[in-house]
Symmetry: C2
Subunit: 327 residues, 2 copies
């Protein structure tokens, strides 16, 4: 059978950085994110008897090397879980650029997992289990399976590390106005980056405080309290980057333009605009604001020298099966 699934990337408000278990991708701390509407990965999986190996076509190009190997390992896991012996044809398309700070691995492994399970015909795998399976491919992919505002409970085992929606996409009309600073592929993949976290003497302290930030952020989202939300989101982003910059060797994702945008966002908020920033493992700055401010924020960002593009995304829904068919 063949199935196509679509999943959204997500932007984390309480970051995942550092694993308790690298192999199972059990994170050091719980995290929170929102899915990004309008940005998506669409993946088709066909479990086929007529091919001799898994193959992967990404954005129209057949993949080899590490990218293919990572997907093959995920397919191996799915085969064990679904009791399949077939190889898979996988075709995947992202409608946004890879490796520039918009988490493509999250939407990719979420879509791959949902499509792979749907194509198997198994009806006994619930959303929570889907988030665990996606997590095994890429930690943050767990958060792209449920809809809206999502929490990934770190847990301390495969069973207890799963994601679930804390509020649906229509709970709070936030927009991620993404200031694109550079579209170059980042030098250090996230999987390797997570291993670097423990080389910073500050990581233990960051993780120890994470549960408090998680609760502050969750409460702010549920209450739609932008002031509290902004403070904890920016602090959490800066805490993650503080660990990155003090790792050995250091990881610097900020570019001069990133700093300029973050400074501007703080300044705009002090003028009364509800906007805050957060950054992932790349130079782009995610400016989170309320829907009524999004156009204004986009206009201001486009005027800045280092901002080469601006993308906007509202709150996205759950990963979904687009179609299933027998081949």
């Amino acid at each position: 059978m063949e199935a196509t699934a679509r999943a959204h990337p997500n932007i984390a408000f309480i970051k995942y950085w550092g694993n308790r278990d690298d192999h199972l991708r059990i994170p050091a701390n719980s995290s929170i994110s929102m899915n990004l509407d309008g940005l998506s990965t669409e993946t088709t999986v066909e479990w086929a008897d007529d091919i001799a190996a898994d193959y992967l076509i990404l954005n129209g190009t057949a993949q080899t090397g590490p990218a293919l190997e990572r997907v093959q390992r995920h397919l191996d896991m799915l085969r064990r879980r679904l009791n399949l012996s077939a190889y898979a044809r996988v075709e995947s398309t992202n409608n946004f650029p890879m490796g520039a700070g918009i988490a493509s691995s999250a939407s990719s492994f979420a879509a791959l997992t949902v499509a792979g399970v749907a194509a198997s015909g198994r009806g006994d795998i619930d959303e929570r289990e889907l988030t665990r399976l996606a997590r095994l491919g890429s930690g943050s992919a767990s958060r792209s399976v449920p809809g809206g505002f999502v929490e990934w409970h770190s847990g301390d085992s495969h069973e207890t590390s799963y994601a679930e929606s804390m509020a649906p996409e229509n709970h709070w009309a936030l927009v991620d106005v993404i200031a694109v600073i550079s579209t170059a592929h980042k030098a250090v993949g996230s999987t390797e980056g997570h291993k670097s976290a423990s080389t910073s003497v500050l990581q233990t302290a960051r993780v120890a405080d994470a549960a408090l930030r998680f609760e502050q952020c969750k409460r702010a989202i549920l209450d739609r309290d932008f002031v509290t939300f902004a403070e904890v989101v920016e602090r959490d982003s800066n805490l993650m980057h503080a660990i990155m910059m003090t790792s050995r060797p250091p990881l610097f994702y900020w570019l001069p333009g990133s700093l300029e945008v973050m400074e501007s966002v703080r300044s705009w908020r002090s003028e009364g605009l509800d906007v805050c920033y957060t950054m992932d493992a790349g130079p782009n700055v995610h400016c989170i604001c309320t829907q009524e401010r999004a156009a204004e924020i986009e206009t201001r960002l486009r005027q800045m020298t280092y901002v080469v593009d601006v993308r906007t995304a509202g709150v996205g829904g759950a990963a979904s099966v687009v179609r299933v068919s027998k081949r």
Copy 2:
């Protein structure tokens, strides 16, 4: 009597950020610095019976408000220590700009202390005591009293918190090539900044690791081991700024140009140039290199868009009494 003293500012390799005791300026961790030759504060102190209050002329302008008050408190302390009742005329001149990341409070309070003691005629106050007294005015001023490469033992009391030279100025021909990014006065004075350190959840971890960094840095200086020196100096600077950026509210001293220079310095070092960066509470980037590379580094920095000026300073000597006279 009247005395004039000259002291150099210093650039810290292992930073002082955060106090164990704010009032006595007992630091949370020990620090290391080198004095900067060619940059100096020259201060004349006259203990006079014919004036009704302390007065301060700084760079030719009579001072009032917080700047005068801070000096008055220091003079009060000196009066108690020296058993004097006279007020003081203080005239001070810096040959470098204030508040832009070149520690003027260090050279200022070192020169003020040395001049004030010299003008009192007291011969029983040794260098170690001078560093304690300077420390009471501004923590890092303790390090501008001795010469060359200096260590400030944090201690845990007034008596045990003092600075001393670990190596003379001719031990290692390092140069601080200062990339000036902006000459604006910084928004948050260092005294207040130190209090902010404890608002970061990362400060305790930074301080806990400081003794190890101190030893690594001291060993590298004594061995003239630039590779080890560069790694620990940059890490220590990034650790301090990590605390600053995650304080509540956050303190961002980096400007876009600062990031650009730091990235360039890392790149040049990977090409084989012995150069490393360190930053204080301001946007300027101190590029520490060996004397034979200084001209090359200066040339490269001057070509960068955001670098508005470049100052170079070799290793400076101890604070010194320039002249003493009876008025």
